[in-house]
């Protein structure tokens, strides 16, 4: 492991001043549940770690005019036990509960969940985000059982974020700070499918920190359904988060976002539009699930994930609408 400098600033301003122009200069340390293993595996070797857990601006869950503001350094456990979250955002709560390790929930943060690196086994072995070996595309020609079924390529890893799909479905925005000021990005635009091996999978620059997430409060019914093999800590194989604005008993408008099926959370816009005006039943939910994966292009080993993703959508819709299967 490359020796590194450790800094634990007390203000956001100090923290921002400690970041560098390149990814190798500094890395933001929150829970460390991902970063430390990346460093141990020599996948990342930042010269400086900037701990953000001591910065008050990154903490707390509060109600503001724009919605519920979640500090980026709020832990998964704090999120899951917060009354505001529990009252309005079952989609976020379910995503938090899906992280079924108490240790992970205690250490891991909401911002860290959004910024964590992909779990692609080729990436973790040092072959990069668009891994090749001796001219061969490792994901396409190697073992792709846990890889993407959606997305235009060339990236085939899946976004590992648990909260991303729910935040997108809920229309959340993330706030990003740099020494020059702050900017606001829609959660949907925070995730980026890298087009070359130099770019990252999130819309952050090396000199920026994700500071908070703002989730608008509405009457929309929302839910997340996660398919994992294990009840113990395990990565989801497919998830779906949905948000339904109702018009009487029918769906006025919907958002359907899939997780763990593409290099970014996948916004199934077509399926959501199809659902408008319909009542949620087992049949319509199933049809919406199928529509959501219409454009899926599975790789050699992961055709099974197409059905799984459709089922996740169906079950999330039923859960949001309170319909029993």
């Amino acid at each position: 492991m490359q020796p590194f400098e450790y800094a634990s600033p007390k203000t956001l301003k100090e923290a921002l001043a400690l970041l560098g122009a390149g990814w190798g200069d500094a890395a933001v340390l929150a829970g460390g549940t991902d970063l430390l293993s990346l460093m141990k595996d020599n996948v990342m070797a930042p010269k400086r770690l900037v701990n953000v857990k001591e910065i008050p601006e990154l903490k707390g869950i509060t109600k503001t005019g724009a919605g519920v503001r979640i500090g980026a350094a709020v832990t998964v456990d704090e999120l899951a036990s917060n009354a505001l979250i529990r009252a309005s955002f079952p989609a976020l709560l379910a995503a938090a509960q899906g992280i079924s390790s108490m240790q992970m929930r205690n250490m891991g943060t909401v911002g860290g969940d959004l910024c964590q690196r992909p779990r692609c086994w080729y990436f973790r072995a040092g072959f990069g985000l668009l891994p090749t070996h001796e001219g061969k595309n490792l994901v396409a020609e190697g073992d792709s059982r846990y890889h993407a079924i959606l997305g235009a390529g060339p990236a085939h890893f899946v976004s590992a974020s648990s909260f991303g799909p729910a935040l997108i479905a809920l229309g959340a925005k993330v706030k990003i700070a740099s020494a020059k000021g702050t900017r606001e990005v829609e959660a949907a635009k925070f995730f980026v499918a890298p087009q070359n091996s130099e770019t990252r999978e999130v819309a952050l620059q090396p000199n920026e920190i994700l500071t908070e997430i703002v989730v608008p409060v509405s009457a929309a019914k929302n839910a997340t359904y996660e398919i994992r093999q294990k009840d113990a800590l395990d990565w989801p194989l497919a998830t779906a988060s949905v948000s339904l604005t109702m018009k009487g008993t029918a769906v006025g408008s919907a958002r359907i976002v899939l997780g763990h099926v593409g290099p970014t959370p996948f916004d199934a816009d077509g399926a959501a539009k199809w659902l408008a005006g319909k009542t949620i039943t087992v049949e319509t939910a199933e049809a919406a699930g199928k529509a959501a994966v219409e454009s899926a292009k599975p790789l050699k080993d992961n055709a099974y994930k197409v059905q799984m993703a459709a089922v996740a959508v169906k079950r999330a819709l039923l859960a949001a609408a309170g319909v029993k299967a």
Binding site: M1, N42, S100, R119, W121, Y122, R124, A125, H133, E134, K136, L138, E141, G142, D143, R145, Y146, I227, R228, Q229, K230, D231, A232, L233, D234, W235, L237, D301, N302, A303, Y304, Q307, M308, V311, A325
Partner: protein, 714 residues
């Protein structure tokens, strides 16, 4: 010579009782020190440089930069130029430094140039395997052609059970110190304290008498920790090179999963036939397996039902560029059990017959019909088979389908060579010493129980000392031989020591030594129990003497003495629920019925079976070493994608120990392996029963289940 036979079942006071493990608190509170917890003054940390290529020739190796790295004390090349590497993870060099971090950073500076050669790492597809397979020749028994023609029902299928790893929580390794006076202090994580000394002596050319081995606990072995291994040898050499400083090496998780041991795979195309009434008449199998570069893995099929009359079998050992197999808790038995019980259950489905009935009907094809019939019925009762089982595919409509399945296993388990020394001190203290080891199974506890029973004492009156070559030699903990070996040697040593004590106290009790006995902490006269001395008072008669006697289990004599034997059967029934939309399999219940001879401690025996069942659940649903065809590496050498069950994934485990007067008379029989055999087959059969078709390969991950349901090849 004392009468060594076990006391009658009804007369035992300490044996047969449910004692918690003596080291339970120490272990669960973290106070127990494993060898990997040891840190000695001046200790160096060693790490390996391993090959990233599955097949390559070392062109050159340059360690000069690593040697200059701050903190590095010694460097050794393991694979010099010209070495042909046969698997990714092959040890190429080793470095000892003041800190593990310095050693790792120095390891990154070792420059190795390879000529990369073609590799072969995946064996599931027989068509791709051909050139790497060594056929062992065909075996034919009876007339399989005729039997195939005459069978009323023939069932054919492809079945596969993959390579998995031992994944010991305490990884392989040791702390070693080889001092300039040519003495070696060795603290390994091993299943064989006694024999590892001789192995190390040979490897280092040091007299065995100069080597001292000590280990208090071992954090998992499962058959993979018998030898000092390459890292044991090389870390010893590093210690010598560094002037005798202690060197610690324990494999990191990734290396542990790649070279710390694997279970061979087992694949087969199998055809079985039967008459309408379920009488099995035909077995044909074309099987193949890999245990690494040397091939290996030859599952004994047909398993349990070995006497199927007409058989045609061929097996090929497949050489892959992967690290070699090691014994894995009942070597080749899980594979054989799966490759037999799954096809038989498919046959039952085709016959439209209850598979438990099919097995009962064909119990005559096994070596112990009565045992299996009794166990099948008991397991059926405990699993509520008659209520919950349904014909295949008849699990109702919803997305959650419940099913039950059965598997049967067998194992040997007679006691190994073992010598125990029992010392009775004049203050009444009792020590039992053996160069044995407790793999976490409760060996310490059962030794104490046997000694206490034999000496008329309580468990807390006996101090058990194991894990050290200063104690008498005791066998390797493999093959479920430990409990038989150590219980018998402890019994004999205890009675030999007691015989000496009787001589010393005979006068005080006014009776001949051969008329004395012990009970409830007293030495007393057999015919006149009123004449007695409390244990402590009796021992005081020793004056300045100390009694120290040994006793040995000699496997060739064991059966005659009646202390231990081998040969058991076991039946397990699994109850699962499968979500057919997601492919996720959940365990409801796993029932294990196990026959095992004399049970010294039902609690630790049950724990053994719980552990075995959990391993089977992991093996049936989650565990699989995944190799990459392009890079030749293991893709899931971690505990993230090398999946193991958590507590919520296990469901209910119901254990039934077949404790009967009749079984008890057979003496002690090992239990490590037997219950680890039938679970995988039972769970696979339960899934088939639930979803109406066979998932041909385990583990039955959601991918494999959904692929099977969709008719896709996995």
């Amino acid at each position: 010579m004392p009468e060594y036979r076990w006391p009658d079942m009804s007369k035992r006071k300490v044996m047969g009782q449910r004692f918690s493990r003596l080291d339970g608190v120490e272990k669960s509170s973290g106070r127990a020190k494993y060898s990997s917890d040891l840190n000695k003054p001046g200790m160096l940390h060693a790490v390996l440089v391993t090959s990233p290529h599955a097949h390559a020739k070392v062109r050159s190796i340059d360690t000069s930069a690593a040697e200059k790295h701050p903190g590095v004390a010694a460097v050794r090349v393991i694979a010099p130029a010209g070495t042909e590497i046969q698997w990714a993870g092959w040890e190429v060099a080793i470095i000892a430094a003041n800190t593990e971090l310095a050693a790792r950073d120095a390891a990154a500076k070792v420059k190795v140039e390879y000529d990369v050669l073609e590799h072969f790492v995946r064996e599931a597809d027989l068509k791709k395997v051909k050139t790497r397979a060594k056929p062992a020749g065909e075996q034919v028994e009876g007339d399989p052609e005729m039997a195939a023609k005459q069978a009323d029902v023939v069932s054919e299928g492809y079945y596969g059970i993959p390579v998995l790893t031992h994944c010991c929580l305490e990884t392989h390794g040791n702390v070693v110190q080889w001092t300039p006076d040519n003495k070696v202090e060795f603290n390994p994580s091993t299943q064989s304290v006694t024999s590892i000394r001789g192995d190390l002596a040979r490897l280092l050319s040091v007299p065995a008498a100069n080597i001292h081995v000590h280990q208090d606990h071992v954090g998992g072995g499962f058959g993979s920790k018998f030898q000092p291994d390459r890292w044991g040898l090389e870390s010893s050499q590093l210690s010598k090179q560094a002037g005798g400083r202690p060197v610690k090496i324990f494999l990191d998780r990734a290396t542990e999963l790649v070279i710390g041991g694997i279970r061979p795979s087992g694949f087969a195309n199998i055809k079985v036939g039967a008459k309408k009434d379920g009488t099995i008449t035909l077995w044909e199998s074309e099987s193949w397996a890999t245990g690494g570069i040397g091939g290996g893995g030859s599952p004994p099929i047909p398993y349990v039902f070995t006497k199927i009359p007409n058989r045609r079998q061929s097996h090929s050992a497949v050489s892959t560029n992967t690290a070699p197999s090691r014994a894995w808790r009942a070597p080749n038995h899980q594979q054989a059990c799966y490759l037999t019980c799954a096809p038989l259950e498919d046959l039952a489905a085709k016959l439209k017959m209850d598979p438990v009935e099919l097995l009962i009907k064909n119990a005559g094809l096994t070596a112990r019909p009565d045992t299996y019939v009794r166990q099948l019925k008991k397991a059926a009762e405990l699993s509520e088979w008659s209520k919950l089982w349904h014909p295949r595919g008849d699990a109702g409509k919803g997305s959650i389908r419940r099913g039950l399945g059965v598997g049967a296993g067998t194992w040997g388990g007679a006691g190994h060579d073992s010598t125990a020394r029992v010392t009775i001190h004049p203050d009444g203290t009792v020590e039992v010493e053996l160069g044995s080891q407790d793999l976490g199974t409760g060996t310490r506890t059962i030794i104490a129980q046997v000694a206490a029973e034999s000496l008329g004492l309580r468990v807390q009156d006996v101090r058990v000392k194991i894990g050290d070559t200063n104690y008498p030699p005791s066998g390797t903990s493999g093959g479920s031989t430990t409990v038989g070996g150590v219980s018998s040697s402890t019994r004999k040593a205890s009675l030999n020591a007691l015989e000496k004590l009787y001589i010393e106290v005979a006068e005080a009790l006014g009776a001949p030594a051969d008329q004395l006995t012990v009970a409830e902490g007293k030495v007393l006269v057999k015919d006149n129990p009123a004449k007695s001395l409390p244990w402590k008072a009796a021992c005081q008669k020793l004056g300045v003497k100390t009694i120290s006697e040994t006793g040995s289990n000699v496997p060739a004599q064991a059966a005659r003495e009646g202390l231990n034997t081998g040969g058991v059967g076991g039946v397990q029934i699994a109850d699962v629920s499968v979500d057919i939309e997601t492919g996720v399999v959940k365990m409801n219940r796993l029932v294990a019925v196990q026959d095992m001879g004399l049970v010294i401690n039902p609690k630790t025996a049950e724990s053994q079976i719980f552990g075995a069942c959990i391993m089977s659940i992991c093996g049936a649903l989650m565990e699989e070493r995944i190799t990459d065809e392009i890079t030749g590496r293991v893709l899931n050498a971690d505990m993230e994608f090398y999946k193991l069950a958590g507590i919520k994934d296990i469901g209910e485990i119901v254990v039934h120990l077949d404790i009967t007067e009749e079984n008890d008379k057979r003496g002690v029989i090992g239990l490590g392996e037997p219950p680890a055999v039938p679970g995988i087959a039972a769970i696979s059969n339960a899934v088939a029963n639930a979803i109406g078709l066979r998932v041909p390969t385990v583990p039955m991950t959601p991918m494999h289940v959904l692929n099977a349901l969709a008719g896709r090849k996995s």
